[in-house]
Structure formats: structure tokens, C-alpha cells
């Protein structure tokens, strides 16, 4: 199965730091150690020709989890690299938009909707959020109060 064979390749390169993985037909989810995250992205994007499909952000109660979805089209395998980001203070992580231009708009949207900062991002400005929603209001967070949002 192609998910198993790709997992073998990842383990071969990164050893135990690949972390826990889950696989099913056509899907592979990886929870790597945060320190090898950038190298793993380079491995999948540059060396294996993975296409960045998108980046999802999930608001779990005590942290945000960023899911980087890469599609290996010739194998029919979707590899998802999960990265936890702590919520307290100023949640932030390093941007991949300088290496992968396609990530620029995706990271801008996550930043304004969830409040996760991407260090090194080339164009930190609003993409979708209306001006009447404040800079510190993050609509996609679970604790966002939708009912009492003002209409001007």
C-alpha cells in the first residue's frame, strides 16, 4: 500500500522523530517532532514533488493544530503533517510562504480568522475579514461570540 511505503521512506530519513502516524487507503497522517517540521516539508515538497493542497487549522481546546496537506499526485497519496501551536500568549509558527508561494494566501486567512501569527510571512494583511470585525476578533475560534457581534 502506498501509504505504508511512504511511511517507510519518512522513517528512513527521520527515524523516531517521525512520531505517531495513522494511515488508511490513500491517506497518511504524521505527527512529527516540531524541530524536524521544516525539513519534513522540504522532503515532501522538493524531493518528492508534493503539491501543497491547503493548510487547515483546528481549534482544539488547549491548542491549535495546523494540518499541512500535501498531495503526492503520482502515487494517489495525501500526506498530512500535523503541527501543534500553543494557544496562550501570542500563538505563532514559522511561515512556509517564502519557499512555497502558494501558501501565502492560506496563511493570511488563518492569521486573520484564528489569530495564529506566521513569522517571516511576506504580506501580513487582511484577506477576507471585514473591516468592522476588529483586529483582535477571531471569528473561527470556538469561543468567538457570534450572537453579540455588532453590526454597523
Amino acid at each position: 500500500m502506498n501509504a505504508s511505503s511512504f511511511k517507510e521512506e519518512l522513517s528512513g530519513r527521520f527515524g523516531w522523530k517521525v512520531g505517531k502516524t495513522e494511515k488508511s487507503s490513500g491517506r497518511l497522517y504524521v505527527n512529527p517532532e516540531p524541530e524536524i517540521f521544516e525539513d519534513m516539508v522540504e522532503f515532501v515538497f522538493k524531493e518528492h514533488g508534493g503539491r501543497l493542497a491547503t493548510i487547515s487549522c483546528v481549534d482544539e481546546e488547549d491548542l491549535f493544530r495546523l494540518l499541512y496537506h500535501f498531495s503526492l499526485d503520482d502515487r494517489g497519496l495525501m500526506v498530512t503533517i500535523k503541527l501543534p501551536v500553543k494557544k496562550d500568549g501570542n500563538p505563532s509558527t514559522k511561515s512556509i510562504a517564502n519557499e512555497i508561494p502558494g501558501a501565502e494566501w492560506i496563511e493570511r486567512e488563518i492569521r486573520e480568522m484564528f489569530g495564529v501569527d506566521f513569522e517571516g510571512h511576506p504580506a501580513k494583511k487582511r484577506l477576507l475579514k471585514a473591516d468592522s470585525v476588529g483586529d483582535e476578533d477571531f471569528p473561527f475560534r470556538k469561543d468567538f461570540d457570534v450572537e453579540n457581534l455588532e453590526v454597523d
Binding site: 471585514a130 473591516d131 468592522s132 471569528p139 457570534v146 453590526v151
Partner: protein, 148 residues
């Protein structure tokens, strides 16, 4: 009815405004121009500026960002005009009634702006071109009754 309102009711010039719709309604509005439905036989045509418009065809549930621009269009439009709220989203926000970013429906925004603006509601998701033409017709007939 006076001769002015009678005149406006013939050959309506249409200006299309999209306040955040999914484009289903917008495609049906543009479809009215195509050979099968052909709104040009009643003199309708799409114009490029609200200053030339008799009817504003508004679609969409009025997102936050669109609202100030829509109010600017209402200011710029040549009086008299009517607003046709095309589609369920424009009539009542429809499936987006509880979406955080939608502040419509259209008639609420026009009433807040100016109570005298006439709004024709054409529901449907999307309304068929025949329904849009019928709604336009009803609106123009109602306009004939107004003194300008």
C-alpha cells in the same frame, strides 16, 4: 401616475449588484439577456453605471464588507429607481440567516437608508429567468402607480 412614472416603467435599464452571493442568482440575471429568455424584447439592458439605472438587481445576503458599498450605490443611483432583491438570500438571507458575516436582508438595508425606496422581492434559489422577468414586470407596474 404621471407621464414621468409611465416613462420609467417602459424599457427598464438594469444595473446588477452582487452583495456576496454564490453567483447562482447572478448567472440567472445574466441569463435573462441570452437568446432563450431575452429581456431585450421588453427593452431591458444591462448598464455599466448606477447613474443610468432604473432597476437595481441586487443578489446576495449583504456581507459586512458589501454594505457600505451598496449604500454608496444607493446614493449614486438616478432617482426614481426600484430595487429588485433577486433570490432567497437577498429577500431573507435564506440559508445564511445565522451566518456571522451577513447583515441583510436587502430591504432592511434600504429601509435604514431611505424608507421611500421600493423593493421587489423575487424569491428562489435561484429564481428562474422567467420568474425574474415576471418580478421585474410586477415592480414596474407598481412604479407606474407612483407620482414622481
Amino acid at each position: 401616475m404621471n407621464w414621468k412614472s409611465w416613462g420609467i416603467s417602459k424599457s427598464p435599464w438594469l444595473y446588477h449588484v452582487n452583495t456576496g452571493s454564490c453567483n447562482n442568482c447572478d448567472i440567472e440575471v445574466v441569463d435573462c439577456l441570452t437568446p432563450k429568455f431575452d429581456v431585450e424584447r421588453i427593452g431591458g439592458k444591462l448598464v455599466g453605471s448606477p447613474r443610468h439605472a432604473d432597476v437595481l438587481m441586487v443578489t446576495g445576503p449583504m456581507t459586512r464588507k458589501s454594505k457600505p458599498r451598496f449604500e454608496r450605490i444607493l446614493e449614486a443611483s438616478a432617482r426614481p429607481f426600484i430595487v429588485a432583491a433577486v433570490g432567497t438570500c437577498a429577500c431573507s438571507k435564506g440559508i445564511f440567516h445565522d451566518a456571522y458575516n451577513c447583515v441583510g436582508p436587502v430591504r432592511k438595508v434600504t429601509e435604514d437608508f431611505d424608507e421611500d425606496i421600493m423593493v421587489v422581492n423575487i424569491p428562489g434559489c435561484p429564481p428562474r429567468p422567467e420568474a425574474i422577468i415576471e418580478g421585474l414586470d410586477a415592480g414596474l407596474k407598481a412604479l407606474k402607480e407612483v407620482e414622481i
